[in-house]
């Protein structure tokens, strides 16, 4: 399903950061494609999963250097696209949801005004239409009283609602691809489920592709279609989400084993012994 007409093609993506002691490679030759599906990228901190997500929109912080044999969105090269074209793609065609809504929302603008602006920037719609669409969108992310929330400031809403608002803002231009970087990690489990359900529904309804970056194996396995497991800047294993439990790579196995389980009777959790050979893939 992905091979026919992939939304995003990434080949041999590399991200490096020059430091005092030399060059640190955050991502070392990652290749994957995303179709109209939910692709999970899982890894621990420092695995390069977030950087991979950011590199797609050329949002890698300076002085990071991004190279790739191919980084194409619907056939269009993102690496060489001029900044102006990229601004057009960001938001309208590809959206990104970050972990903490408090840092991504403008604190001195009402929520409604921000979402409506996001819509108008990309659609050239009138004010009334933008407001109408915004209210519809807030309703779509299951905010019970959209009219009231429209006039609130970001600090007046809870974390869960803030994240739903972020999702509304990112989805209102109707993008083809959503990159979600730990979108629910700061939320309580029940709220997390509800937010995921909203994203799931919007994904299937609009035929949107999604890259879901997370550290939570169980969550990704139950939410996504396909999973990339990253370790030290490389993809060590790719599998269908439903087959994660049958993963072969010792790193993936080690991660799965080290998770505490509710019905655990193990006296000690197995500790991941890192094999230097994993660094080479």
């Amino acid at each position: 399903m992905t091979s026919e007409n992939p939304l995003l093609e990434v080949e041999n993506l590399r991200i490096s950061f020059p430091t005092r002691t030399g060059v640190t490679q955050a991502v070392r030759g990652v290749s994957f494609t995303v179709g109209r599906e939910k692709l999970g990228i899982v890894g621990e901190s420092g695995s390069g999963k977030s950087m991979t997500g950011r590199a797609i929109l050329r949002l890698v912080p300076s002085p990071g250097i991004v190279t790739a044999d191919k980084l194409a969105f619907q056939g269009e090269d993102l690496l060489t696209a001029p900044e102006k074209r990229l601004r057009d793609i960001r938001g309208r065609r590809i959206s990104m949801v970050m972990q903490d809504p408090k840092f991504s929302l403008n604190p001195v603008m009402t929520i409604g005004a921000q979402i409506a602006e996001a819509y108008r920037v990309h659609s050239k719609a009138g004010k009334a239409e933008a407001k109408q669409r915004t209210l519809e969108m807030l309703e779509a992310v299951r905010i019970r009283n959209p009219e009231r929330v429209y006039g609130l400031y970001p600090h007046e809403v809870s974390g869960g609602m803030g994240q739903r608002i972020m999702i509304a803002m990112m989805l209102i231009p109707n993008p083809d691809l959503l990159i979600a970087d730990e979108p629910t990690s700061a939320l309580d489990v029940t709220v997390q489920m509800q937010v995921l359900a909203i994203m799931d529904e919007l994904c299937s309804k609009r035929g949107m592709g999604m890259i879901f970056v997370s550290h939570d194996l169980n969550l990704v396995a139950s939410f996504c279609d396909r999973i990339l497991i990253m370790y030290a800047g490389r993809v060590v294993e790719t599998c269908r989400a439903s087959e994660l439990h049958a993963a072969k790579h010792p790193y993936t196995r080690g991660l799965l084993d080290s998770l505490p389980r509710l019905d655990d009777t193990r006296a000690e959790l197995p500790v991941l012994a890192r094999d230097p050979a994993w660094l080479e893939g």
């Binding site: 621990e44 901190s45 974390g159 309580d188 489990v189 029940t190 709220v191 997390q192 489920m193 509800q194 995921l196 359900a197 799931d200 550290h215 194996l217 169980n218 969550l219 396995a221 139950s222 939410f223 080690g254 991660l255 080290s258 998770l259 505490p260 389980r261 509710l262 019905d263 655990d264 009777t265 193990r266 006296a267 000690e268 959790l269 197995p270 500790v271 991941l272």
Partner: protein
Amino acid sequence: MITVHDLRVTFGHGADAVAAVQGVTFDVKPGESFGLVGESGSGKSTVLRAVVGLNHDWTGTIAVDGKPQTPHRDKAFFKSCQMVFQDPYGSLHPRHTIDRILAEPIAIHRLGNADARIDRVLRDVGLGPQFRFRYPHQLSGGQRQRVAIARALVLEPRVLLLDEPTSALDVSVQAEILNLLKRLRAEHALTYVLVSHNLAVVAGMCDRLAVMNRGRIVEEMDAASLRRGEAREGYTQQLLRASQGYDRAAADSFKDFA
């Protein structure tokens, strides 16, 4: 070991007052590991901070080791009761070496023999003496949390309060820290109160637990029934379902419990 009776904590005054904890009662026996489970805003951390003396505005009864506690604690109290914080990146002084961090409690309590104590406690938490003169920024998250545990243990307390000790760590590191905490409890006959939002962590670490929601204890149960998934209250059942991964139908059925 710890008795909390009708604990109430209110933040703010007058119209802005928020009742964070509304009448919480529980008992922890010596040597027991007790879990406090709940989502953010449930008041679980607030209870812990009141017990340890970081929060002064409470009413009710708190007794530790048989001694009733007032909001302000003396030095002797801290010798017997210590706490480990959630964020290992924020709980170590950025300008102090590990040595200085561990020497501070020894100096405050005038225990003497600092070198031997620091070496022993570092080895206890699985860090070698080569870590002693490093700064926190030279350590990984897991190593920092080990230092934080070492700092709590240096005074040889009988009670350790753990506030989400692994939620800021990677899963593979979480396993190491949980194993370490289990081993330390056995070796030093410690009493634990573990605050966590992660049911699986609590199931593995605790003997008994209380589920909190909106400042109240919803239900108290033992870990064996949690492992079997036997919850009496709807709220706990919902929490159990949510912790088993994403399930569209389950998510749609969730409701707010007041």
